[in-house]
């Protein structure tokens, strides 16, 4: 039973990763990241249940919190960038170019 959830979580993670790589719209990229995080949460909860331990759920608790903070800050950055450069196309944000 646990393996089923693990496989599902793996697929969701891969889908999220695909989204990060394929899409140009940074907000959609952010959403894909959230998808990946959720997949990880599922993995943790499933394994916690398998071992009968609460620790997995506590970890998920923290992941939830941090994800919220991260989205807040990330959106703030995206909005600031849009204000400067009028774009949310990931390809056009290249200040770190070497």
């Amino acid at each position: 039973m646990t393996e089923h959830y693990l496989v599902l979580a793996a697929i969701l993670f891969a889908i999220g990763g695909l989204g990060v790589l394929i899409r140009r719209n940074v907000i959609v990229i952010l959403m894909s990241v959230e998808l990946m995080l959720n997949a990880v949460n599922v993995t943790f909860v499933a394994l916690a249940r398998q071992h009968g331990s609460m620790d997995g759920q506590v970890i998920v608790f923290f992941v939830l919190t941090v994800a919220a903070a991260e989205v807040a800050v990330g959106l703030a950055i995206i909005l600031m960038n849009f204000a400067q450069r009028k774009t949310i196309n990931a390809d056009e944000i290249r200040l770190l170019r070497g």
Binding site: G17, V20, L21, A90, D91, I93, R94, L96, R97, G98
Partner: protein, 644 residues
């Protein structure tokens, strides 16, 4: 006998060198004008004291001053020790005595020279190096002095270095010396190695001399090879064939330098070295024959070039080469004492000749071509008279210095069977008389060919210059009386004095008959007087004959005037290929290959960096891809691990 006195002989001039450097740096020429001559005079005094002590010892005694242990490396042990025996004493008296006179003379000669402090510094350094050379107790220490005088020669020849010709002359001297020095070093190494094989490994001169017979017995080829290598070194330092070419060019230096270095001292180092190692040389008769032949050949060869020179100093330069040829001939036939005797005489009259030439040059504001001189005798009487005395000495006029020494050498050559060398030396004596009196007549007598405005200012030199001339003139007359033939009065005093220090060759012939000796002496004198007479005829009595003679001998004259094209020969055979090789290594190897290699490394690094730089696109998606790729790899690894 141990003493701590000897080191002062060297240290005093060395202190003079430092004082001179200080004076030059702080622009105090008067300081150097005092210390320069003072330290050499002081050294002369110490020499007198030391020699006095030496004379209180038995005939083979010596004064020794061990300063410190220099090298201790396995079997090689060299102490920095000074030693005076009878041979050394003669050299020391010459170096410090004649040296002092020349230093005093220089005070007058260099009176208008702004750089005089540097001059005296170098001159003092030279004197101390030469003293190290003769005081050395072992070959390496001798070599220090040997190199030191070579260095100072270079520095002093190129004293007025701003003129490229002077600098080139100094360089030529250095390089020619270097070739000789290389041979000297190889000889020294071979000697040490072979002594290690057969006896006690040591480079101490006494030890070498003592072990020479043993060496000759066990490794017979070694003495010959070593002596030949050392001979090459001597030809460099003493300007013999084939390495004499630097000495004529060395006349670019100030005249006191020519007098001291290229007449009395440095150029005699080769002769001294051979005499010092006489015990080794007598074990190598083949090498000694080569020595004698080179000496005789050089004697005549140089004399022929001296007769056509216009530059008075060049005449004296070739004369030096020729006279040293006599010394080398002397030691080559086993007459070591005779060679040293002539060395001493030569120091007197050659230094005197050079100082006179310097006086003339000084009076004529730099003119040294005899074709622009003439009739100076009336205006510079002391210079003219002393020059004449020196001329008679060098020519071998009976009673004057070289009459006795040159005779002794030629005699020894004839008696020991070296007839060819004797003949060459004899003819050389004729040329000697000719060229030196040609010099005298052209310079001091006859009509004046002077530049009019120069002529107006010609005057005799101040006393600080003329007194040394007079002293040397006296020595040129009486100096020879220490070696009288036929056992007259005290006989061959110099020979007896030196004999404990010098070897006698094997198979030494008995004393020749008085009749033979008288015959040889008369012959030599006759040849010399003929040379003088011929010079007098051409240059004093009937100058009109010059045209006829010249017309008849055009071909020979050209050869001599061009100095047998020896310099040109060396240029083509050695210098040009060397330059070509250097150029090849510079342009071909260094610029192309090595620079290419080094720059190539840099280029590869830069190219590589350029490739990897593309990884930094700034595009976050690329970075995300990278991260994911890494995750892929990690997941793969995890799966593999879990499989097991």
């Amino acid at each position: 006998m141990e003493t701590e006195l000897l080191r002062w002989i060297v240290l005093l001039p060395l202190l003079g060198f430092f004082a001179g450097v200080f004076a030059a740096r702080t622009n105090r020429p008067e300081l150097a004008r005092f210390t320069g001559p003072a330290v050499v005079l002081a050294a002369f005094v110490v020499v007198l004291i030391s020699v006095g002590r030496l004379w209180s010892l038995p005939a083979d005694g010596a004064l020794v001053d061990k300063m410190f242990t220099w090298i201790e490396a396995g079997p090689l042990s060299i102490d920095f020790t000074f030693r005076i025996d009878r041979l050394t004493s003669v050299m020391l008296l010459i170096i410090t005595g004649v040296g002092s006179l020349i230093h005093l003379y220089s005070l007058g000669y260099m009176d208008h020279e702004p750089d005089v402090a540097r001059f005296f510094a170098y001159l003092n350094l030279f004197v101390s190096s030469m003293l190290i050379l003769v005081l050395a107790d072992s070959l390496p220490v001798l070599f220090i002095g040997w190199e030191g005088v070579g260095l100072c020669s270079y520095l002093l020849i190129g004293f007025w270095y701003k003129d490229m010709n002077n600098a080139d002359a100094g360089q030529k001297a250095m390089i020619a010396n270097r070739v000789g020095d290389a041979a000297f070093l190889i000889g020294m190494f071979l000697l040490f190695w072979s002594l290690a094989q057969v006896g006690t490994a040591s480079l101490n001169l006494q030890s070498i001399n003592e072990q020479a017979p043993l060496l000759a017995e066990k490794l017979p080829w070694v003495p010959t090879v070593v002596c030949l290598l050392l001979l090459i070194g001597a030809t460099g330092k003493s300007a013999q064939i084939p390495l004499y070419v630097w000495l004529p060019d060395a006349m670019a230096g100030p005249t006191p330098v020519s007098a001291l270095i290229h007449a009395a001292t440095m150029v005699t180092a080769g002769v001294y070295m051979i005499a010092r190692l006489s015990f080794l040389y007598v074990e190598a008769p083949g090498a000694m024959d080569v020595v004698a032949t080179i000496g005789a050949l050089t004697c005549l060869f140089a004399a022929t070039m001296a007769i056509v020179q216009d530059d008075l100093k060049k005449v004296l330069a070739y004369s030096t080469v020729s006279q040293i040829g006599y010394m080398i001939l002397g030691v080559g036939v086993g007459a070591f004492a005779a060679g040293i005797f002539h060395l001493m005489m030569h120091a007197f009259f050659k230094a005197l000749l050079f100082l006179c030439a310097g006086a003339v040059m000084h009076a004529l504001h730099g003119e040294i071509r005899m074709s622009h001189m003439g009739g100076l005798g009336s205006k510079m009487p002391i210079t003219a008279k002393t020059f004449l005395i020196a001329a008679m000495a060098i020519a071998g006029v009976p009673g004057f210095a070289a009459f006795f020494s040159k005779d002794m050498i030629l005699e020894a050559a004839f008696v020991s069977g070296h007839t060819l060398q004797w003949a060459l030396g004899l003819i050389g004596a004729g040329f000697t008389g000719f060229y030196v009196f040609r010099g005298y007549f052209r310079t001091f007598t006859g009509e004046s060919r002077l530049d009019p405005e120069v002529a107006a200012h010609v005057h005799e030199m101040p006393r600080v210059m003329t007194v040394p001339l007079m002293i040397l003139a006296v020595l040129s007359i009486v100096g020879g009386w220490i070696g009288l033939p036929f056992g007259l009065l005290w006989g061959d005093a110099i020979g007896h004095y030196l004999s404990p220090s010098l070897a006698t060759p094997h198979g030494h012939h008995g004393h020749p008959t008085t009749g033979t000796l008288l015959f040889l002496m008369t012959l030599a004198t006759a040849v010399a007087l003929f040379g003088i007479w011929w010079a007098w005829t051409l240059y004093a009595k009937s100058p009109q004959l010059l045209e006829t003679v010249y017309a008849r001998t055009r071909g020979v004259y050209t050869v001599l005037w061009n100095r047998y094209w020896v310099d040109e020969l060396y240029d083509t055979l050695i210098v040009d290929p060397y330059k070509r090789t250097s150029r090849f290594f510079w342009k071909g190897v260094d610029a192309v290959f090595i620079d290419g290699l080094v720059n190539g490394v840099g280029a590869v690094v830069t190219w590589n960096a350029g490739v990897w730089r593309r990884l930094q696109s700034g595009n976050v998606s690329h970075y995300a891809l990278g991260m994911l790729a890494g995750a892929v790899l990690l997941a793969g690894a995890t799966w593999l691990v879990l499989q097991n």
